[in-house]
Symmetry: C2
């Protein structure tokens, strides 16, 4: 087992080293980077589509998916400069992927959004040069997610609680959810609907308040 652990440690440290370098490069180019995390189908792309037009900076998007470029097609059709990463099978993005994609996008003076693989587990473990992690969860997922997937919540700088338009039709115990969140983090929790646009202004204001 020790050789397995050594290999895993070396994968982590190589990832961290490149992520540190990348973050410095991004700062030199006046680019603020947001790592967007969340489960499959929780509305990461549709939230970006709501947020980006309201942000007074140029946006660059890196779309992470195991397969397909459906989201990149959507974003490009809206005039948002986007590059697709297909990981083949890998369950998270790592910093070499992001470094190459940022070069490909020729990022400068703006915000670089990284839509990570739809996965509430693995992506939370990897620093990929971002300034902040934005976690998107949803009322359709139930209120027990902070208890079951603590790392994603612990690491989040902001939590967007999406699909609030569906609240009348689902069983979501907000008190239980918030009690779980507050055991892990003091990050703000902003209620949004990526369908109706409700709450998006509040999320934009929060992003602008922390942007360097």
């Amino acid at each position: 087992m020790s050789s397995e652990i050594n290999v895993m440690e070396s994968i982590y440290s190589e990832n961290e080293k490149i992520a540190d370098e990348l973050k410095e490069e991004l700062e030199n180019k006046n680019v603020f980077s947001i790592n967007v995390l969340g489960a499959p189908g929780i509305g990461k792309t549709s939230t970006l589509i709501q947020l980006i037009p309201k942000i007074p900076y140029k946006s660059f998007v890196i779309e992470g998916d195991i397969a397909s470029d459906l989201d990149t097609q959507k974003l490009n059709a809206l005039g948002i400069q986007t590059v697709q990463i297909n990981t083949g099978g890998a369950c998270h993005l790592d910093s070499p992927f992001i470094r190459d994609a940022a070069e490909n996008l020729n990022v400068q003076d703006g915000i670089m959004w990284i839509e990570n693989i739809g996965n509430l587990v693995c992506p939370a473990e990897f620093f990929i040069g971002e300034h902040i992690k934005m976690l998107i969860v949803g009322v359709t997922e139930g209120s027990d997610k902070p208890y079951k997937y603590p790392l994603a919540f612990e690491k989040a700088d902001v939590i967007l609680l999406n699909k609030c338009d569906l609240l009348p039709y689902v069983d979501f115990d907000e008190d239980f959810f918030m009690a779980g969140v507050r055991k892990l983090t003091n990050a703000p929790v902003i209620h949004i609907s990526s369908k109706s646009g409700d709450g998006i202004d509040e999320a934009v204001n929060w992003i602008l308040s922390v942007k360097k």
Copy 2:
């Protein structure tokens, strides 16, 4: 990189070897095993709660979660014999976990349900001694999931499309979804609601038709 690949290959082959042995042990004990896969909050536990009372065999449940035993508490409260596995941080269950849990449950003459970690990526890669894989997806996740997470669909023996009670309130393009599914698999797709119980009888009948 070759040492990393060798280590990953040895992790896989050790897992497969134990899974093969476990499957044989389960057959000797007349136990049919179902590996339940799906994203976080898609209703894996609530579907088990609907299915199990309608199955005319004794059920044993292995609950996989990164943290917490909330689902095990729910199932035990209903009189369903359940054991919890907490992986700490690992994103999938592997066969040594299942072998130990099956021993702990003292399984014999019945169905062993394995609720895997909520994750549409990693669990699909690991054979853990099961007879069939049951994939649960939902109309709330959008219709593009087969295109983005192909392996989970490819490996599924049956696909339950859950949360159909929410169809009037979400944008779900069933034709696009089914076209994506049919590029990957001929597995049956059964519409269910783990809230209302709709479609559960059909899922039960399918399980009984394949049970050895």
